[in-house]
């Protein structure tokens, strides 16, 4: 203890001469820092209502609520996050996890209100003074709580796959599938979009758990063509996937396939479960494609006796006769058909409707009848020369290849069309050309330009890899035939624009830009029609029609009470739509049959 110790404390008095350090008016003079985690903002136009913010909030401060003026649509639940500031702890995990980046925070931190309920609000909908604040917390670049990149699907390289019809993609290993399944945020937007409403997040969860049998059971509850759809589904689900907004969508299709690959096929029927007891009702189905067989599967499981009449040698419809083996191996399709047969469905192949079996006969012999005949007639351009024998239709050729018929494979051929069928036939013929002639000589001409292409991007990419030439924006003008009557190629005109002022598909041609595509065969793959002739004139006349298609109600029932129609022939081409149709029809028929029992 010194004298200094007595005097020193008095130095505090020097502070009398210091300026004050307080901020006089903090409400206006003290804005939050640029990164400040202040009040929430939400760009409601960007927000898809996936609810990931709600899922991650550990305080349960966020509820997804319906909002006036925002409708539920594909890829948007129509809900928006409502935040309760009585619970929020401003951790910003909701901002970090937001799948679209729509949710952010302002640097505003003062809010005074006498109504406690005001502090529970929907950012972006209930307008606030900070809605336009530029500063505030945004998820920093590279800071992600969900992995944006898809696990790459291994596939055969072009050199190895071009000479054969083996399946191109390898399928995921258990580790890869689990890693991909981990990425799912289980928002369920996919379920709403999937025509068959498959329980996608749930079956993806079974992959994470490694419980494949539970996964398989879930799959077949909504889709008896799970092996098929696991390979060739148009996967609309993936286009609405929440992860898609700032990354690659979850590979839902490949994950579905992975489940079916992991379960021993002998176990399928046990896992799916046996049908209910017989009801004594008889149902006929015309066409053993996805729509017809799905309805047959459901109806058989409900205990009805189902007979399916199929014109072709094998069941499967377009999935067998339209889709090449390298995309969908026949054994995968057979396995699905076997499951359907195991439910007691009697599939009569090689039994076309017409001579021996007629619609009138079916009407008489069965309680109800379903027409699911698909779109098996190829359309023709009917340009000059298109009636030449060396001008074929893609669907006919694909069917011939599937049935193992010998076809005269040309060294060079030109395909007209830009959809997946055009790619299918081009790639199938390219494989045959490689096998027979040793090299590929395929040209595809499509009306659409690449930015509006109809075929899936991977089809285009893989076609290029396989050495197929694709010319976009070319309109077919004439099939060229030489003096001795051989096809020598296709003349096309440049397509200048493909939509009219009303946004309808209506190409405009430039006759000045003409091109000759060399080929000794021309294949038309421009579109398909249903072979409704099998209905017979009398039934055609009785039925109601809507712009060329049989008129059906929401359940698929036609104007004739005993007849339903489903699948591509009423709703246009898509496997999983056909499956969804099949379910609807089965439920509707079952209700009608049960009502009959009661009356």
């Amino acid at each position: 203890m010194t004298v200094q110790d007595v005097l020193s404390p008095f130095t505090a008095w020097k502070n009398l001469f210091r300026d004050p350090v307080t901020v006089r008016d903090p409400l206006t003079e003290r804005p939050g820092a640029a990164r400040y985690r202040g009040f929430h903002k939400n760009d409601v136009a960007e927000c898809i209502g996936c609810g990931t913010c709600e899922a991650i909030c550990q305080n349960a401060a966020i509820d997804m609520v319906p909002v006036d003026g925002i409708e539920t649509k594909e890829g948007d639940s129509g809900l928006r996050p409502q935040i309760d500031y009585g619970r929020c702890c401003w951790c910003a995990l909701c901002v970090d996890v937001c799948m679209t980046g729509s949710l952010t925070m302002s640097n505003e931190y003062t809010w005074i209100d006498s109504d406690p309920d005001a502090f529970r609000f929907v950012p972006g909908v209930d307008h606030k003074s900070w809605d336009d604040a530029e500063l505030g917390y945004h998820r920093p670049d590279g800071h992600r709580l969900t992995p944006p990149e898809r696990i790459v699907m291994r596939e055969m390289d072009p050199e190895r796959r071009i000479g054969n019809f083996e399946e191109i993609v390898d399928g995921y290993s258990v580790e890869e599938a689990r890693a991909e399944a981990e990425r799912c945020v289980a928002c369920g937007l996919c379920v709403a979009t999937c025509p068959a409403h498959m329980s996608i997040p749930d079956y993806i969860a079974t992959i994470r758990e490694g419980d494949y049998e539970a996964g398989l059971k879930l799959l077949y509850e909504t889709n008896p063509f799970s092996q098929v759809c696991g390979r060739v589904c148009t996967h609309k689900c993936e286009t609405v996937c929440a992860v898609h907004h700032e990354g690659d969508p979850i590979a839902i299709r490949w994950l579905k396939r992975h489940i079916t690959d992991q379960v021993d096929r002998d176990r399928y029927v046990d896992i799916i479960g046996r049908p209910a007891g017989e009801t004594g009702h008889k149902v006929a189905v015309v066409g053993a494609g996805p729509a017809g067989l799905t309805a047959a599967f459901d109806l058989a499981r409900m205990g009805h006796a189902v007979t399916v009449f199929e014109a072709r040698k094998h069941a499967g419809g377009m999935t067998r006769y339209g889709i090449p083996e390298y995309r969908l191996p026949y054994d995968a399709l057979d396995a699905d058909v076997d499951v359907i047969r195991a439910m007691g469905v009697d599939i009569k192949c090689d039994t076309p409707i017409g001579d021996k079996v007629t619609m009138t006969g079916l009407e008489k012999d069965f309680d109800t009848v379903l027409v699911a005949i698909g779109l098996h007639l190829g359309r023709s351009t009917r340009i000059p020369g298109s009636d030449h024998p060396k001008v074929a239709k893609a669907v006919d050729l694909l069917r011939a290849i599937t049935d193992g018929e010998t076809i005269d494979v040309p060294k060079t051929a030109v395909v007209i069309g830009g959809g997946n069928v055009a790619m299918d036939i081009a790639r199938s013929l390219a494989r045959l050309q490689k096998q027979i002639h040793g090299e590929v000589g395929m040209t595809v001409t499509a009306l659409e330009d690449f930015s509006h292409f109809l075929a899936d991007p991977e089809e285009v990419k893989e076609s290029f890899e396989e050495g197929i030439e694709i010319f976009d924006a070319r309109g077919p003008r004439e099939v060229l035939v030489d003096e001795v009557g051989n096809v020598t190629g296709l003349k096309t005109w440049k397509v200048v624009s493909i939509f009219d002022d009303k946004g309808r598909f209506a190409p405009t041609y430039d006759e000045g830009d003409e091109r000759i595509h060399v080929g000794t065969m021309v294949i038309e793959a421009i579109g398909q029609a249903a072979d409704v002739a099998l209905l017979g004139e009398a039934l055609t006349e009785k039925l109601e029609w809507n712009r060329g298609r049989i008129t059906v109600d929401a359940d698929g029932r036609t104007s004739e009470p005993w007849l339903w129609a489903a699948g591509d022939c009423v709703n246009g081409p898509d496997v999983v739509h056909a499956v969804a149709d099949g379910h609807r029809v089965a439920a509707s028929m079952d209700a009608v049959l049960k009502a009959k029992e009661l009356s």
């Binding site: 203890m1 200094q4 110790d5 007595v6 020193s8 404390p9 130095t11 505090a12 502070n15 350090v21 939050g32 820092a33 640029a34 990164r35 400040y36 985690r37 990931t52 899922a55 991650i56 550990q58 305080n59 702890c89 401003w90 951790c91 910003a92 995990l93 970090d96 996890v97 925070m105 917390y137 920093p140 590279g142 800071h143 992600r144 709580l145 969900t146 992995p147 399944a181 981990e182 990425r183 799912c184 945020v185 289980a186 994470r208």
Partner: protein
Amino acid sequence: MALFELDRSQYPEAKADGSLDIDLASGKYLKLWQGPQHPGITGNMSVELTVCGDEVVEGRTHVGYLHRGFEKLMERRTFIQCFPIVCRICVPEPDFNEYCYAAAVEELAGLEVPERAHWIRTLILEMGRINSYMMYLGGQAGSFGMGVIGQWATYVRDLMLDRFEEMTGARIYHMFILPGGVRDGLPEGFAVRMEETLREVERALKDINDVMYCNAVFKKRTVGVGVITPEMIEPYGVTGPNARAAGVAKDVRKDQPYLVYPELDFEPVTGSVSDIYTRADVRRRDVHVSIDLIRQILQKMPKDGPVMTRLPNVLNWKIPEGETYIRGECSRGEYGYYLVTDGSGYPRRVNVRGPSYTHAMALLEKLIVNANISDVAGLMVSLHTYPPEIER
């Protein structure tokens, strides 16, 4: 130093269970309840005092006023959802919770944290240490009636909170260190503003030194009071400045280096006799060490590179079975997180080891005997304890 020896000759013998046979009816003794709100503690905690005149005969600590059940809550939260919770376990120095939890999760989940994130984490922890000491200084001075120190300390703490705000986006609960790294890099011009802040801290420290440490009253009230002998260190689990003031150079930053401490140049601050004064002095010098460490960090740290590793989808995050204990040197001693995982998406058990647990209970009960009632608050503050970390 007879003063340090407990003189119990005039009080009843302790019974077998350690309690005293006090006859309140005799009128010689008085039960005095101090707390749960009182100047001796940051938070809520009570001491049940038995006094004889103005001398404490016995003190029993009562905790539990701040129990929020965080450890149990975390067993029902996913690993990412625990992240916003942990900082709340210790209000005045929350970042240690974020760091320990993140490091424990990273170890069990096998995450590699980017280099720059390690530097930023160290920076944050040292900034937090300064703030924690500033809060202590205010409390220590206040408990002896020197209110102005608290205002000065709060001012510089506020400047440091500004730095926290611009870096992390929040002032108190930063929620910035999350498993895998830190949220973001340093904002533009941060080092310059930090240097200005550090100078203010130094200036304030000098003033505080003049007014508090070189103050006859303060010395008189604190020197030789509440002495922790070196022999008590191990049995009472004393760590941090409380132990270092006794000359025991325990510092996790040196003993079991973590983050980037091996690359930084510093020596743990020690004293000779761990009484209230020396403990206060050790903490004052520790602030200078932290200031120096922050300058070193800002100079040596990599200027760019990632600060966050790629996380798995946190909504489906499962961590393999395992257990780990992560420790660090916080302003009060050894802070630790014991994390047990069972392969599920939730922690099986989280145990938070706050240094206050031993300091505020067993150690205080030992030191409080024979203390003057007027010194009790000052003694409690000198142990620098935070009840929220006692009751997780």
